[in-house]
């Protein structure tokens, strides 16, 4: 309901204050502008510093005398060369890309299937099955039992444990389900049925092509989740040589915070014996940000809609 309301109200005259509204005071306007600009700066400046540092040469960094700089006086691609030179960092990036792609595919199969399967109120066992899914919003099984189950399945120290345990997100499922229920016209489905199409045909030929945008958003949500995997890797796969990129980043960070015991951890990720340079670390940060920033405009375009359907309709 809310989504259609918003859409239908959108085509108003752009950028004009409505006639009944009086102009706010200058002070109010300035405060507002200052607030927004400060807030945005607090997000932009660190990110800019990260990017700038990742391209800075050793000398420029030393001259700046810190971990970060805002304007590299001398550019260098050494950090990126090191990342992509085929060492442990390259392996980690490749692993994370494979995990993200594979995990997203599996998650989408589960989510689409259940969202469509549960989109017909009144079908056999519809209510109890839906309850089984909604219950996951209320309770969490706990870290230790989940860990035990992963162990019992023999998935400990296996990359599958980074995908299967969180392959299904009930929130995404409910969002997609309400889209199928509310935005795919029942008349079309009925007509297809009249023509003798089975459910699978209807799903693949009719419903999915109509839901491309929301499917893309949900896929991107899953992709971001898999890309950002850290906790599960710490918990389920501590013994593997090649770790997801977030774990590698964390180890690099620890190694320069000068903490006892951290250095040995980080050592195996270094091509040289020295602690990672600030530039190298920041280059890894950039590598973990770039995919998100690339996906971001697309998520953003469709995502408010998904949030409204999910959060307000519940």
């Amino acid at each position: 309901m809310s989504t259609t309301d918003i859409r239908s109200r959108k085509p108003r005259v752009k950028n004009r204050r409505p006639s009944w509204d009086d102009e706010p005071s200058l002070l109010g306007k300035l405060t507002k502008a200052a607030f927004l600009i400060c807030y945005a700066a607090a997000i932009i400046i660190p990110l800019w510093a990260v990017v700038a540092t990742s391209f800075a040469s050793e000398e420029a960094l030393n001259k700046a005398g810190g971990n970060l700089l805002l304007l590299p006086t001398e550019l260098s691609l050494r950090a990126y060369e090191e990342i992509f030179s085929g060492g442990a960092l390259t392996d980690s990036l490749i692993l994370t890309i494979i995990l993200t792609a594979g995990g997203t595919a599996i998650s989408m199969v589960l989510t689409i299937g259940a969202a469509y399967g549960l989109s017909r109120p009144g079908s056999l066992a519809h209510r109890p099955l839906l309850m089984l899914i909604l219950f996951t919003f209320l309770f969490a099984p706990g870290m230790y039992p989940s860990f035990l189950v992963v162990q019992k399945l023999g998935l400990f120290d296996s990359y599958w444990s980074l995908i299967l345990p969180m392959a299904l997100n009930a929130f995404n499922l409910i969002v997609l389900r309400s889209f199928f229920m509310n935005s795919v016209p029942t008349e079309l489905i009925d007509a297809a049925k009249m023509d003798g199409a089975g459910e699978f045909r209807i799903l693949f030929k009719l419903v999915l092509p109509m839901s491309k945008a929301i499917l893309a958003v949900i896929a991107l949500f899953y992709a971001v989740m898999y890309w950002n995997i850290y906790f599960q890797a710490v918990l389920y796969t501590p013994g593997l040589d090649t770790q997801p990129i977030q774990v590698v980043l964390q180890r690099m960070l620890m190694s320069t915070q000068g903490l006892p015991g951290a250095a040995s951890n980080a050592a195996q990720y270094q091509s040289t014996a020295a602690a990672p340079t600030a530039a190298l670390k920041m280059a890894v940060v950039v590598c973990t940000i770039v995919p998100i920033v690339i996906m971001y405009p697309f998520i953003q375009k469709h995502f408010t809609k998904a949030v409204i359907t999910g959060a307000i309709k519940g």
């Binding site: 809310s2 918003i6 204050r17 009944w20 509204d21 009086d22 927004l36 807030y39 607090a42 997000i43 660190p46 510093a49 990260v50 700046a64 971990n67 970060l68 805002l70 589960l110 299937g113 469509y116 399967g117 017909r120 109120p121 009144g122 056999l124 099955l129 089984l132 899914i133 909604l134 919003f137 209320l138 309770f139 099984p141 706990g142 870290m143 230790y144 039992p145 035990l148 189950v149 399945l153 299967l164 299904l168 499922l173 029942t186 049925k193 089975g198 459910e199 950002n228 918990l235 977030q246 964390q250 960070l253 620890m254 915070q257 973990t288 995502f303 949030v307 409204i308 959060a311 307000i312």
Partner: protein, 327 residues
């Protein structure tokens, strides 16, 4: 409309796409009709069964003296012994207190910030300015905690950018990122940086569903900007505020693992220990057994469940919709 619906469609209501003859269809008939839907749902149900319901049922070992070297039924039931042990554990109470502190701090300081951000953003007339700021403000929501902590250490750590500026101006180095006393402030900055934008988006969506003619009517009647905000805007987004509050209260003991685990070494465990890190460090990589860790997790899960149900009930009493409707 309603009259048309009931008169034109005899089987009005839940499944208009399928001719239903009351409830006379047998299960077998319905199965023949609905099996593709069930098959499609099956993979997701299997995933839930294995990774949600199976571990959930393993919580029973919180009431047993569990040992992995015995067969399951040989483990003796010990009642609430593990919970007693838990509450007498010298590290558990501090972890619980920390958890509650962080949770309430989030409710008090981050939640309102999202609302303020949304209100300010909503009052910006220019759509271009709005979309640029929105994109910036909620970008960090998609970053991992590792990334957020890294960026904060680089900015605010002892060798960070801010320290360097302060040195440049003749000041002293600061290190907010390794100081237990200021950890709450640091955590607040991190939550705001990472999550406030996300909350803002939800509130903005709620704000844009308020009927603009209400504002117009109020303005014509002479209501000032502030009065319009108080009497139209805030009541308009109240259901969403309540909904998010309930969801937050339900997850009050789940303040997250990563943020605290990542800063544990720098800040010290006394300040950063929360229930999840407690389970991890004491039970999974520590020496306390399975039952102990399970009991701690179950305590968290049950309190969370009770809190959601209570909060939702209170919301209903106050006349709000809550997360699920009363049927």
């Amino acid at each position: 409309m309603a009259a048309l619906k009931t008169s034109a469609l005899p089987a009005a209501g839940r499944a208009p796409e399928r001719p239903r003859i009351g409830r006379k269809q047998t299960v077998r008939q319905r199965l023949r009709h609905d099996w593709p839907l069930l098959v499609l749902t099956l993979p997701a149900l299997a995933q839930l069964a294995v990774f949600f319901y199976w571990p959930s049922s393993w919580n029973i070992i919180a009431f047993m003296d569990y040992s992995p070297y015995r067969s399951f039924w040989e483990n003796p039931f010990v009642g609430f012994a593990w919970f007693e042990r838990l509450f007498s554990d010298p590290y558990f109470m501090p972890a619980l207190v920390n958890t509650l502190q962080f949770a309430f701090a989030q409710l008090l300081f981050v939640f309102p910030l999202s609302i303020v951000l949304a209100l300010v953003m909503h009052s910006v007339i220019s759509t271009r300015v709005r979309s640029v700021f929105q994109s910036i403000v909620y970008l960090p929501y998609f970053f991992s905690w590792v990334l957020v902590v890294t960026v904060f250490v680089q900015m605010l750590g002892s060798d960070g950018l801010v320290s360097n500026w302060l040195l440049g101006f003749g000041g002293d180095r600061i290190d907010v990122t390794a100081d237990p006393d200021s950890f709450m402030f640091l955590a607040w900055m991190q939550w705001s940086w990472k999550d406030a934008g996300w909350g803002m988006i939800i509130f903005l969506a709620a704000l844009s569903s308020i009927n603009p003619s209400l504002y117009e009517a109020a303005a014509v009647d002479g209501a000032s900007r502030w009065r319009r905000m108080w009497h139209i805007t805030l009541p308009g987004i109240r259901p969403v505020i309540v909904l998010l509050l309930i969801l937050q209260i339900g997850t009050i003991l789940t303040v997250g693992f990563e943020q605290y685990q990542l800063q544990r070494e720098a800040v010290g465990y006394q300040t950063t220990e929360v229930l999840d890190t407690f389970v991890y460090y004491r039970s999974i990589i520590g020496t306390e057994g399975e039952s102990f860790g399970t009991a701690a997790g179950l305590f968290k899960g049950v309190i969370g469940l009770v809190l959601v149900l209570v909060a939702n009930n209170v919301a209903h009493r106050l006349g709000e919709q809550g997360i699920y409707q009363k049927s």
